[in-house]
Symmetry: C4
Subunit: 354 residues, 4 copies
């Protein structure tokens, strides 16, 4: 494979593994506990079966949509993840440049290797910033101000990490690596709250956050109808259905398995995005058919970055976009509006709510 160009995202994974130091690799691919949820994030997609339509005019395939009003060229977003500076010198800035080149939206990581101002400078497409609420409110407010100043269009508040999950592969090796500082926290005072390993956040914190900024705040890490209903009541504009890439608590729902109940509970009151396990154009199609407005991809972006910097990311995004275009053509859905639940052959093996 060394010389042949990669033809799918798994090729990038293999190339990246050969380049990335093992301890860092362990950290990037790790899942919590026994890795069941990590595996299920993929398997759940593979279990979903498509019902393609034929004899439709698919001479033009239109992937464009909008995310909280901002037009984008495809329903694929860059998930916040890191540490990108360890994979390529320009780090998150390279990713931002590649995302802009493809007309996709990037969610910059709160824990990025580069400050949000730098990432924004490199970005030519729409930019959101992911936010952990850890430490204390003054720290969080400082980050919000930096996101506003950088021109971010929205904040994505991570709600699934009141403690950081036990990624056991990493736990065994992480001491052997010299982990970088988080650029966005440079110059901020130390947290006042008693430190625990995690980013605890409550509905009250969300309410407070909404008082200090006019940026729309998306919740990242919702997996249940109950939380979606609470979010809808509060007028939350967007929800990222996510289990944090299987890195927080092993045994929770695969994210695409959680998607239908969240979509149903939100009942059109906000945009729903799907994060976790997306590797194929058909995965994007399946998520959209189940009600997602867009998907986020994380680890594959890191593979691209490690293999070939911004051009690697661009190629990863282009491959995925091309697969999605093909999948829409081959299922007779020329636009995203044509992608609905009739595309899915529901099996009787799906989870049901208690």
């Amino acid at each position: 494979m060394t010389d042949a160009p990669p033809i799918n995202l798994f090729d990038y994974e293999a190339l990246a593994e050969a380049k990335i130091p093992p301890v860092l690799w362990d950290y990037l691919v790790d899942g919590a506990g026994d890795g069941i949820t990590l595996t299920e994030n993929r398997r759940a997609f593979e279990r979903i079966v498509l019902r393609p339509r034929t004899l439709v005019d698919v001479s033009r395939i239109d992937l464009s949509t909008s995310l909280l009003g901002a037009p984008v060229r495809s329903p694929i977003m860059i998930a916040p993840c890191g540490p990108q500076g360890e994979l390529c010198p320009e780090g998150d800035c390279a990713t931002a440049e590649a995302a802009g080149r493809t007309g996709m939206l990037m969610v910059a990581s709160g824990g990025a290797s580069r400050a949000i101002a730098d990432i924004a400078a490199a970005a030519t497409g729409p930019l959101w910033m992911q936010l952990y609420h850890y430490g204390d409110r003054p720290r969080t407010e400082a980050i919000v101000r930096r996101a506003e100043a950088a021109g971010c269009l929205a904040l994505a508040l991570t709600v699934d990490s009141p403690r950081f999950g036990r990624k056991e592969r990493s736990l065994r090796t992480e001491d052997e690596y010299d982990w970088p500082e988080l650029a966005n926290y440079a110059g901020l005072p130390a947290p006042t709250a008693p430190s625990i390993r995690g980013a605890p956040v409550t509905w009250a914190d969300l309410d407070w956050l909404r008082t200090i900024t006019s940026l729309p705040i998306v919740l990242k890490g919702i997996l249940t109808a109950e939380d979606a209903e609470l979010a809808a009541v509060r007028g939350v504009p967007g929800i990222v259905v996510s289990n944090h890439g299987g890195r927080q608590l092993d045994g929770v729902l695969a994210s695409v398995d959680a998607l239908p109940e969240v979509v149903e509970a939100a009942a059109g009151s906000c945009e729903i995005y799907l994060d976790g396990g997306v590797r194929r154009g058909t995965d994007v199609l399946k998520a959209v058919a189940l009600g997602a407005r867009a998907v986020l991809i994380g680890r594959p972006v890191l593979w691209g970055l490690a293999v070939n910097g911004a051009d690697g990311v661009f190629d990863v995004l282009t491959l995925l976009r091309r697969e999605l275009t093909d999948a829409m053509a081959l299922t007779g859905r020329p636009t995203l509006a044509d992608v609905d639940g009739s595309l899915i052959a529901f099996s009787k093996l799906r989870h049901s709510r208690a």
Copy 2:
């Protein structure tokens, strides 16, 4: 196995793999994407469980039926596939000769190594011609005229290939092979439409096609009740339930899993054929029990052709026919009319429509 005679179609597969150049082999056995649909085409058959009847007079087993009115000696048809000329010098003509010897119907490939006139000359049984609508209408019309002139009894319009699927195993190696010309397109002008890799076709194209020929036009590549209903409304005489051998879009329904909904939607208005994954006599029996009038076999014909030319094809067809005869006897169904849904033990794992 080298010296012992093959006793089933899998033996032919093994023998063929040893003879066919690797790059060509990759192309022939390939599936799109991760190969899930390719695998499911077989697994779906293996999941179907038979309920045999006993104490019936099965001293005579009658496999004869008719296809669009043409009598045939068994409900097994030769699927259009190629490039047969690369596997044996006589190519598609050898296949046509073997099909006639067994009283089976052949669907000649539009992309055959030999011109339809030559194939028709070699055929002693009923012949249909498969058709891609690519390039433009004049090109398609020219092919139709050639099919008519050759005496084909019907056309099988492929509707699942508006783009050609990404067969990844082939993508990695296809440049190493010197692919042949398509005989049926010899002497035709170049296509006028902007070339994309595929054969896009719409219901409007079908309507047009029906104005230029009186041949019955069967649709090949339908997988949903919705499309079957649209076909029924138009009076389409036959539908091939097919996912193109898993070669177009990975993740779509296994063809035999799609069969019941298509049969139900067509409601007897046309003949339904099943293509994809048939390797055993019991597979034919299962498809017929689920409502198919006949099945198509593709790759196994190529194995036979590669191993021993027309005689190899004849032996493949004879083995399959013999297995079907045994299966009918051992389930107490002496004629195809006796093969109905009561033969199937429906499990609760099947897909249901949304």
Copy 3:
């Protein structure tokens, strides 16, 4: 394992494989086609889950029952199978002696290595004779007379073999073995009917058979409710639910999966026996809980015979009987009458009738 005594039937299988010539082994363990039904016969048992009761007085466990009125010491019968003379010089006579020693009923094979008169002479317990209707009625009648003369209490007419299944492992090697004559057919004239490989039999043949003998005739090889209903209407006294050890047609129901519908259809009008895949005492218990009056075991008897003649068979039967006794004690069922459907935790994965 060579020196340690076998502690279960699988140990006997391993010991037997080491002793039996490979070609004969292939024949004995073979299944039809791809072996799916052969495998499912075991898996279906493994999928059945038990619900044990506690705090019951199980100081005495009573396995005794009766089969068509004849008292037996356990609900385990010897299935007809062969060729036993190839495994031990005394062949079927050794088996008969061991069966008698355990108070179990033996169904002597129509294709036994020893004549039914000899087997009867060696037997001290109840004896039935299995019957193929092949060749012609005079031949069948001759066999019936021999069974009557030998004192058999019933006939077990095999109804699932109008043709003999394609056991592919054997097909590849059977020519290398010198197969013995069938003792029961010695001295009979050649069959008059055109020979095909099989034992075709119809309801009309059954009706005729009932006119020529007063022995009760059990049907062996029923797998559906429909055939059970037809048998019940005719007053058939017993049904062996069996797929011939997976040796006839691959893809048919696992025998224990077919048991519930046969039991329900027979509605108490006759005794139901289960044949196929029984290897553990809990398998016997499961079959009885699902409505079987007894089970038949075949291959394990052959392992015992090959390993240690009559004593080997006795040990196999004793091990199985002991496991059943333990299982009854550990589920709180001191008698077979206590073993009912409440013992089974029905999963939602079972097959349903169309």
Copy 4:
């Protein structure tokens, strides 16, 4: 792994296997029959899918509860198991000391290596004693008196062992080990009842037992709603849902699969505990969500004991407790009262009662 500290219970298993003599190891890890229930005890947990809530205040996680009125610091109990004296010189006393250090309840084994008086002397937390009713009533009464004298708060009567299961791995090797005496039976007269290998006990024995002691008597080994209903009618204060670690009868329900029906049948009339297969904090959480008041862990305690005596046990318990704490935080359940059925994504694959 040799030098790195264990980070989960499976690490302790691996370390213990390297230290424990093989014959003893075989005995400890063994399951009855083919080991299906042993395996299912784990798989059933892995199949259960969690639905985590977010944005809840989880700054304080409270694991405390009470067991039959005695306060404990977590819903994790030490299961009765042995022979602990073979794994560490202090044996069960070391375990008792470690249990007290973590504020957990220990159920001392009736077959302990150390007498209950010694164990009680080492214990600083609440103590119950497990009881086999074997031999005869005088022997049982003598044990009860010793438990009372030692200050045990309850008795756990094992009801699933009227015979001891056939643990086949052990059967093959147990003669090679010099098994220790049972300390609690020292000085008692030999049993008067005819000895069989087991501890048969009936509802009548339970009734008698209740007349001779005022200690609450918990039933250990119930797996069905029927037995739970009988226990409820008698006012039994606690039930341990257990299949004896898969060691008694292969094929019975996984214990956590049996939990819902027992909880429903008991209808709040008594406390329900879950024993079997618990290895992860999420397993504890799942059991509590399905209605268990607490779980018991057995083999992992032995791993800890073998690896590092009382400190090993303490570390095992601490790891599990920490995982549970994390799991409660990450599912938004700060107290055990918040852990209910809405935490479980019920799949359609669960067993249903006949």
